[in-house]
């Protein structure tokens, strides 16, 4: 496949880019080799039953390349196709990549997951749920063999449902202000619990809870990236060598981090209340800060710097 990189690739918005544009801009120029490229036509066999169009790559781009001259394996979800969903083919491509990383020590020891997904593709529900389970197991097993798995969250679909679970299984998570992650997405919460519980149309509310800034402040993500290809590249390069070993000590530290968090913030009813409890001087102002000022606030926070996961 060709390389659609162009001179403005570094400043291109991650949020607005396609999966292929993100990969082309993120990796060293010309270094990307795709596994099962679209010319192989490995498409969903199920969507035609619903009279829905398939995609030649099933919305999942997998392969290998280099980032700052480091060899990496990569997987990128196309959030615009079916909401970047986990399904039979897209899931198998991701599971295959992770299992290869687990089993073959000659492959790169770093896997980057460019998540952009609302979760399981409903038309392939059983296959999609199985795919999520297999992906999470494969990530944990790969980490057990010393592979670092980094999630990049900043796409239009966010990382919800199975993608949120997948992100939480990774060694490290980088997120942008536009990025969102969680298990149940805003529409799902509203549908099940009512609009009084969570108004999915209230963008400020949605982002204050699920958005990148809140996730970074609470320690739900390990790096905050500007919404550009260069921003994510810098964030990932800073994380690559800081991934913790996947051992009992790390898991105990993660348990302590989460127990501490629920003790300190569990009674809060809004994101602003949590930011107050975290000791942030002007909590109302968090969403108005520029990226540099926000990064300064993160530096001074306990909890955001826990070395766990």
């Amino acid at each position: 496949m060709t390389d659609p990189r162009h001179p403005s690739a570094d400043t291109a918005s991650w949020f607005l880019s396609t999966a292929r544009e993100r990969l082309a801009g993120l990796l060293d120029p010309g270094s990307f080799t795709e596994f099962l490229p679209p010319t192989e036509r490995v498409q969903s066999p199920h969507l035609a039953l619903f009279d829905l169009p398939a995609a030649f790559d099933d919305g999942m781009v997998v392969g290998r390349g280099r980032l700052g001259k480091r060899a990496v394996l990569v997987a990128a979800q196309e959030g615009q196709f079916m909401g970047g969903t986990f399904a039979e083919v897209s899931g198998a491509k991701l599971v295959g990549l992770l299992r290869a990383a687990r089993d073959d020590a000659k492959l790169p020891r770093i896997v980057l997951l460019l998540l952009d997904s609302g979760g399981v593709r409903l038309q392939e529900g059983n296959a999609g749920e199985l795919a999520v389970a297999e992906v999470m197991r494969a990530i944990v097993e790969a980490r057990g063999y010393g592979v670092t798995v980094i999630a990049l969250v900043g796409g239009r679909a966010g990382a919800f449902g199975g993608a949120g679970l997948t992100a939480a299984t990774c060694s490290r998570i980088a997120i942008s202000e536009q990025g969102r992650t969680g298990v149940s997405g805003p529409e799902v919460i509203e549908t099940n619990k009512g609009v009084e519980e969570f108004d999915s149309q209230d963008k400020a509310l949605v982002w204050s809870v699920t958005g990148g800034r809140n996730r970074r402040l609470l320690g739900g993500a390990d790096a905050y990236a500007g919404d550009t290809v260069a921003g994510f590249r810098d964030a990932v390069l800073a994380l690559i060598d800081r991934a913790p070993p996947f051992d009992l000590a790390t898991l105990r530290a993660e348990q302590r981090r989460l127990a501490d968090r629920i003790e300190r913030l569990g009674a809060c009813n809004s994101a602003v209340e949590m930011w107050v409890a975290l000791g942030i001087a002007e909590p109302q102002n968090i969403r108005n800060l520029d990226d540099t000022a926000f990064a300064e606030i993160v530096k001074g926070l306990r909890g955001a710097a826990y070395d766990a996961r």
Partner: protein
């Protein structure tokens, strides 16, 4: 799902040496176009998969116009359509041919 296959003779080969390219995304009002340089220099095929029925004549008109403008000889073109308008289809086809012209960096 409607499958349409269109075959054209072209004036000459498409420019460039890149073997394949993919442009666009299957999303509402959008489409993906895959181009593969696998045919004889004066042949071009376009295969379209679309969930929107009854627009065969419009697709054929857009493809004929495209072949006339771009002379995409040698290209096997495959489309997964998400309900794109004819002007979007034409822009994606031209973007695909331009991408095939570009050199590796």
């Amino acid at each position: 799902m409607e499958i349409l296959k269109v075959h054209h003779k072209t004036r000459g080969p498409a420019a460039g040496t890149i073997g394949s390219a993919l442009v666009g995304v299957v999303a509402s009002g959008n489409l993906e176009v895959m181009l593969e340089r696998t045919l004889a220099d004066t042949e071009c095929t376009v295969e379209i998969a679309t969930p929107v029925r009854g627009y065969d004549d419009v697709w054929k008109a857009v493809v004929t116009d495209f072949v006339e403008r771009a002379s995409p000889g040698g290209l096997r073109i495959s489309i997964n359509d998400g309900g794109a308008r004819p002007d979007t289809v034409m822009l994606r086809l031209l973007q695909g041919v331009r991408t095939m012209e570009a050199g590796h960096d």
